[in-house]
Structure formats: C-alpha cells, structure tokens
Symmetry: C2
Subunit: 113 residues, 2 copies
C-alpha cells in the first residue's frame, strides 16, 4: 500500500482543482506541481496523467491551446464553463470523502450497530 495506489479516482479532481487556481497549465507542469505540493509523496506518471487530461478534454471539462516554445509544443489546458461547475462539485465531493475517511480511521472503538 502506497500513495500511488491511493490516488485512484482522485487524479482528475486534483487536476481540476489546480486549474481552478492557476487558470492555465500544461501537463508536465501539472505533474511537477502535484509533486511539489505533496512533498514528493504523490508522483503522477505520464501513463496516468496524459490519459486523464485527454479524458477531461473529451468530456468537455478542459479546453486546449497548443503553443510552441522554440520547436517544442506545449498543450496548455484551462477549465471550460462546464469544467468550472464540475470542478466545484468534484472538489466538494472529494472533501466530504476525505472527512468521512478521516473520521472512520480515527474514531476509536466504533460501537456495534
């Protein structure tokens, strides 16, 4: 059991959350940001990140602008309007889930039902 197994299901919400704050980010930047913010504990792999971004784009939550830095392309993502409302929802949901989990693993001697 490590952090990378626990991240399942939370990655897209995390991406939405970052884009809420930063407006405009590209994939690699998102991965670095998650690494920094988690103190190196959550390392998103390319094999997770890019498919997740593509799915969010396909679902109409993100829009993309390609930009050339020298000869190299960067795909900048931002939230669509749909993405903004979805994002708010997903974050509330995640926050509630975290609180519930915290509560469940913290409370001692849960009573028989």
């Amino acid at each position: 059991m490590n952090h990378s197994e626990l991240i399942k299901g939370t990655l897209s919400t995390l991406i939405l959350r970052l884009l809420e704050e930063r407006k405009r980010m590209y994939g690699y930047e998102i991965a670095q940001c998650i690494k920094e913010m988690s103190d190196g504990k959550i390392l998103v792999k390319e094999g997770s990140l890019y498919p997740a971004l593509h799915k969010l784009e396909a679902d109409g939550l993100l829009s993309v602008e390609e930009e050339f830095i020298g000869k190299r392309v960067r795909r900048y993502y931002r939230l669509t309007e749909k993405g903004q409302s979805q994002s708010a929802l997903a974050i509330r949901e995640l926050r509630s889930f975290l609180a519930t989990m915290e509560n469940m693993i913290t409370q001692t001697n849960p009573l028989p039902i």
Copy 2:
C-alpha cells in the same frame, strides 16, 4: 464522481482498521458498519467486499472461523499477527495520504514552482 469511485485503494485498509477495533467481524457486518460510520455515504458492494476479504485472507493478514447461526454459515474474520503489523502500516499510510490530499485541495493559490 462519487464516493464509491473514491474508495478505490482504501477498502482493505478500512477493513483492517475495523478489525483492529472490533477484533472479530463477518463480511456482512463489515459492510453495514462502513455504511453506518460513513452516514450512508460509503456503500461497499458484495462484489468488492468479498473479493477484498478473500485477498486479505490469502495474503495471510486475516484468519477465518466459520460459525453456524442456525443453518446459516458466518465467516468471522480477525487479524493475524502479520495482519496487525500490516494494519498499523496501512493506516499510517492512509492517514498521511488523506492529510496530503486535504492539504492540496485546500490551500489557495498554490505558487508556481
């Protein structure tokens, strides 16, 4: 995005945690307990629960005693010694992950790296 998608990766830890407190539980009881403790927010399905229990047993973290209630069998689980140490580890890990996630979705305006 709902709680059932977010539970991925946390179910076994949750089971271990419950058995740490309650010593001896059977599958159906565990599912009910998770439902109660989460205020109905986390509904573990049989298709998730029983395979998870079987895996924990196969990995030597749980032991089983079958008991007949009338004509119906109940499979009571408890932590093995290995299960106890693993449990402590998994819970620490989960707690740390929850804190990290909480931190990431809560802090406003994360700075550029």
